[in-house]
Amino acid sequence: MNIVVLVKQVPDSGADRNLRNDDNTVDRGSANNVINEMDEYAIEEALKIKEAHGGEVTILTMGPDRATESIRKALSMGPDKAVHVLDDALHGSCAVATSKVLAAALGQLNADLVICGAESTDGRVQVMPHMIAERLGVAALTGARKLTVDGATLTVERQTEEGYEVVTAATPAVVSVWDTINEPRYPSFKGIMAAKKKPVQTLSLAELGVAADEVGFDGATSAVVEHTKRPPRSGGAKITDEGEGGVKLVEFLATEKFV
């Protein structure tokens, strides 16, 4: 099975994150940039399928030069190769334009299965799998907590508000996964060394047949008008329980009219 995993480089969600003041995009320059956490689960799932059924795993990333670090990190887990969509004109692209670019790249990669994280930790927009599937005319099985591959049939168990659903589709398809699906492996030393030699192909917009004015700020379908930092919350009263902690807690709740 030819599997492509979408990997996004994001600012570390464990540190302070900001939008840039000049153009309102995510500030990557000052951030510690890492693989979107959920994508590691997507990579793991792809590797497990390859191990069970054979095939090839390709990483697909759209991002600036520095995304190379995340691509190498992803490859160190075990995928075979990577494709990096890299073009200065992409800066400022909205989700709709991003899906156009990724769909164009996927069109060239002939994937049977596209796996991605259910959302990225920076935008948390959660729309990419369905946008890509819509463009490619293939099924999207989203939010998987379990994925079974039986020949060309994919079966996914997905969490819903009321319980869970079992959903099935034939390949080609896009599957997005939550962090409940598996436990991603740590790259081995051998894997890290091997990753340095794995092929990373760079694709420009011209090579994908996407015009520069369809992406970036020119092609954006939405815009950030302004952004402000929310003042940090400040802690209120803190008491140490000396036998009456529960009562005092309820007294506080009562003054706030919750009890």
Binding site: H130, A139, V225, K238, F258
Partner: protein, 319 residues
Amino acid sequence: MSEVLVVVEATKEFGVKKVTLEMLTLARELGTPSAVVLGGAGAAEALSGKLGEYGAEKIYAAEGDEIDGYLVAPKATVLAELVKRVQPAAVLLASAQEGKEIAARLAVKLDNGILTDVVGLDADGTATQVAFAGSTIVKSKVTKGLPLVTVRPNSVTPAPAAATPAIEQLSVSVTDTDKLATVVERVAEQKGSRPELTEAGVVVSGGRGVGNADNFKLVEELADLLGGAVGASRAAVDSGFYPHQFQVGQTGKTVSPQLYVALGISGAIQHRAGMQTSKTIVAVNKDGEAPIFELADFGVVGDLFKIVPQAAEEIRKRK
């Protein structure tokens, strides 16, 4: 005034979800609300009373297995046709999994901008979003097409405004491509009578400090006494104390209730990401240095196994 389409979120168990009432309330600021029901046969009829109560002037319905038997693609197709026909002033969906997915496909079909996790929307289409774990407030606009917006639960106070909506059944013309992802089975899991996590006015969450799955009864008891939902930190979920659908945080649900009670939760950034826009935060933790106290309006340092039962007893006394 032009129509504003509100795509209804509802469940079999609870009927119209609160976020739908919030969207109808918001839609009245922008135009005339029309509800769109995309679901199983008879769904619109069952929901029409509540939708009318909150100002839906009209209900568009597309129902049946053709709509409900697959993942969101057929719903997006029907909605796209409706949008082209009525040219609404805006389209509002819930910022939950399905709402975002329908909106995603609609955006591509119409080559239209999309804004998700919106907590406020002005008449000129300017949306307010909260980004980066609640640390940044963003004002944004759709610049191509109509405002296509997913609204985060607990953003608006629902206000009734009686209307008597007529139901218009939409002819369903979904394509084979829309029917690629088949729902084989829907399994309901026992949740009892607690409110849905993202919509609840009160959320009581437990973390690693709760110790084990059995002890979560304490968390549930306090939640029930406060009429709230139960949440859990990632540490608690990863340790198997509580199911994943109740996880609050960066890789779980984002909640914004009136009251958030954190029990045995240290307040790692992973967790704060999902709850720090809550109005009032109360924390109980044995470690006085735990970062959760930096957020808490009221914190108790001590043993939650002593404090929580005492608090429960005190609430019962006051009732």
